[in-house]
Amino acid sequence: MLILSIDTSTVAASVAVMDENKLHGMYYTNYKLKHSEKLLPLVDGLLKEINMSLSDMDAFAVTTGPGSFTGLRIGAATIKGYAYALNSPIIPISTLEALSYSQPNFDGIIVPILDAQRNQVYTAEFVNEGDVPVRISEDRAVALEELCRELMAKLDGNKKAMFLGDGVYKFREEIVSVMGEKATFADMVTMLPNAAYAAKAALASGKRESAYSLELNYIRKAQAEENLKK
């Protein structure tokens, strides 16, 4: 199954083409946002480079959140456009799950964290079983300190928690101060989500959506909706 995947959930933007046997190509940039301007040229450039076209794809994949609301929408609107034009399925991938795929050899709890503002992070927890990360908690927004305390209670013996995602940029010191040696951090190459890991997760996923049915998982409602409920 040939998949084109997109990730624009954080400050980095990337596109990848992958099937079960090969990562055919990936373009990744982490420079001054402007995803709306860059994304389509990135996709176009990659496809030309590997001599493929959108119509060769069996499915499209996209990270559907959590992440930057605007970033997620640029990715999803683009993927919806491709899927509508070519009548192709869309495989939705949790941004946190895509991140977890980048740590296949880690023997502990993989904890992707994305900055959710208000001193919270979007997070979920994963453990590797064989060569596949398995989710042990649902995507949620939680105060960083609370998350660290929960993890300390869960980690047995010499097991550690591997943090990655843009939340690390903001909270690294705080994590270390609470968890000490129980916390470890991804290297810079795998720190942010990218389309290749999203594609890998997509190849293992049984979910299929269409241009019409694809929904984002913002986790949070719009501020105005939350205020209205108060």
Partner: protein, 335 residues
């Protein structure tokens, strides 16, 4: 050129819309409005607007194509509003349109929303040169339409737009969102000469407008009445305010038509739905023998049909964008 078919998408504020135009004739114009959602908050909430656009856009586009009897493959180009508007809302249309254009191998056309409003008049047969009174929630200007894609702004508002003034006055009078249209209805029951409100800049020798002082005058009137414990006749107040705003708009348009020596006038934008403005423009045209164009309510509100109309003329001129096309929230006409 014949058999030019364009799919146009509009998502600048709280309407998700798509239209198909063939050789300048509108074949479909589908509008999915979010007004009911935003009414809960008393105004458009940008984050909610963006979320709603993303959900609605595939089916709106599909319906526009099917209503026209075509598929994406049949199109000569894909067009989209690139600004002005809410950035998050614009980005949905821009991203989706670019993806469609890329996947179907079609050129992409980035359209100015205000040029789109003006272009609603091309659908009625208006031929440049003509003068267009552009009146919406974000803009108030008198534009000389030199050609289908060439515009000169003769004058514009220095503060609030006319639609903004209507909405704000409606709000302080306690009318529900969207207030401008409700104020227009209420005004029909009032005496429009009962309350003396200023007609800002009406006598000044230019084509500019100012509506924030008039809004303050209404606020002052309401406050004074409250302090004196007097009952305000809201219908009278609405009628008087509407009369003042419309008189200014029509007076300045007439001045421009005479000084520019142009005998064709048109109007566009959401405030062009105002019933008094429509009837006063008809009187003005009858008095001076002007040719007058007034789009119907659908084409005055935000819609992709008007974007398709402008895109058709941009297509004829070869004015295309590329895959870098971006949303420009504060785009100015002619830039």
């Amino acid at each position: 050129m014949n058999d030019i078919k364009i799919l146009a998408i509009e998502s600048s504020c709280d309407e998700t819309s798509a239209a198909v135009i063939r050789d300048g004739e509108l074949l479909s114009n589908v509008i999915s409005t979010q007004i009911d959602i935003h009414a809960l908050y008393g105004g458009v909430v940008p984050e909610i607007a963006s979320r709603s656009h993303l959900e609605a856009i595939p089916s709106v586009v599909d319906t526009a194509l099917k209503t026209a009897g075509y598929t994406l493959e049949d199109m000569s180009a894909v067009a989209v509003t690139r600004g002005p508007g809410l950035v998050g809302a614009l980005l949905i249309g821009v991203s989706y349109a670019k993806a469609l254009a890329m996947a179907a191998n079609k050129p992409i056309i980035g359209v100015d929303h205000m040029a789109g409003h003006i272009s609603a008049n091309f659908l009625l047969g208006a031929k440049p040169p003509f003068l267009c009174l552009v009146v919406s929630g974000g803009h108030t200007m008198i534009v000389r339409v030199n050609d289908y894609t060439d515009f000169t702004i003769l004058g514009s508002t220095r503060d609030d737009a006319a639609g903004e003034a209507f909405d704000k006055v409606a709000r302080v009078m306690g009318l529900a969102y969207p207030g401008g249209a409700k104020l227009d209805k209420l005004a029909a029951e009032g005496d429009e000469y009962s309350i003396d409100l200023p007609k800002a800049m009406i006598k000044e020798d230019n084509y500019d407008f100012s509506f924030s002082g008039m809004k303050s005058a209404v606020l002052n009137y309401l406050n004074k009445a409250k302090m004196k414990n007097e009952e305000v006749n809201k219908a009278d107040l609405a009628a008087s305010f509407r009369r003042s705003v419309v008189d200014i708009l029509v007076t300045k348009l007439e001045k421009a038509a005479k000084e520019e020596g142009i005998g064709t006038i048109a109007v566009c934008g959401g405030v062009a739905c105002n019933s008094l403005l429509r009837s006063e423009l008809k009187k003005l045209a009858d008095k001076n023998g002007y040719e007058l164009y007034i789009p119907d309510a659908t084409l005055c509100s935000d819609n992709a049909g008007m974007i398709a109309s402008q895109a058709y003329h941009m297509y004829l001129k070869g004015d295309f964008s590329d895959l870098k096309l971006n949303a420009v929230p504060s785009l100015e006409l002619g830039c």
